[in-house]
Symmetry: C2
Subunit: 162 residues, 2 copies
């Protein structure tokens, strides 16, 4: 009767060997998003749904499903990568604000949604990552990804630069 | 015509000398929440709205309104405090999951909502911090705060213990 997932359902959602994000977070393109780049800690992806221009995800490489389980170093590295992605979005798309949302009810593998709010967004409305969808054509999506990737790469720490 | 705040409105919302969180985040009790404890970096507060049992906030002490502006040390310390608060909620209230939400459209002073999801919550519903409100009576709120504070205090890093 409980609306939350049953224990059995949750075990399936959290099982590493069935995790959809483990399977596709590193791919150049997948059903939901395109890769902007990867660090030692995360994959950074641009959502195909660009209802909020710049909407992106930062996905932990290792399969963890609870923020509580991260070591201090991994926690810091994850948020450092989120911050770096946010700065790239600010630089390229100039949003009014970015919301940083860690949820994962359907996909518990740890990831953060970077949901930009722009001039046309109502700040009093509840945030909703399912706004839209607004899908760009392939060229537009590629161009936006390239612009973000370029800025994101320039913000790499010295040790990660070629 | 733009639904987002005007530049003038945003300047007022982000101005440190008019910031409601700077004014009341450290108080034992305020209109919205009660203090669980404070670290060098943050104030940790239990929301009066307990529609999601354990709903809490971690509020940066210094007035910053953009995650991008935090130094690496401050960013790490902030998320370390968020993680510690989340662990206390897990220990005391046993939620199925905790959502970690940084938004602040109306109150840009940087803070993270820790919104627990319990067995009675529908995981497919969009998260909404305005669920409820469900207000406990004073004794219940005090008891819940005391239980969380006790666990939270025990998780203090050695340097912060009395």
């Amino acid at each position: 009767m409980a609306p939350w997932w049953s224990d059995e359902e949750w075990r399936e959602l959290t099982a590493p060997d069935r995790c959809g994000m483990c399977a596709d977070a590193h791919l150049e393109e997948n059903e939901h998003s395109v890769l902007l780049g990867s660090t030692e800690t995360t994959h950074v992806r641009l959502s195909r749904n660009q209802a909020h221009p710049g909407y992106a995800l930062v996905i932990l490489r290792v399969h963890e499903t609870n923020l509580s389980d991260l070591s201090p170093d991994l926690l810091a590295a994850f948020w450092n990568d989120v911050q770096r992605a946010g700065r790239a979005i600010e630089s390229v798309l100039g949003p009014k604000k970015i919301d940083y949302l860690v949820m994962g009810h359907r996909m518990p593998h740890l990831h953060c949604h970077l949901l930009p709010q722009h001039e046309t967004d109502d700040p009093t409305r509840n945030v909703d990552i399912s706004d839209g969808p607004l899908l760009l054509d392939d060229g537009e999506l590629r161009d936006r990804a390239a612009a973000l990737r370029s800025v994101w790469l320039r913000a790499a720490p010295p040790t990660e630069r070629a």
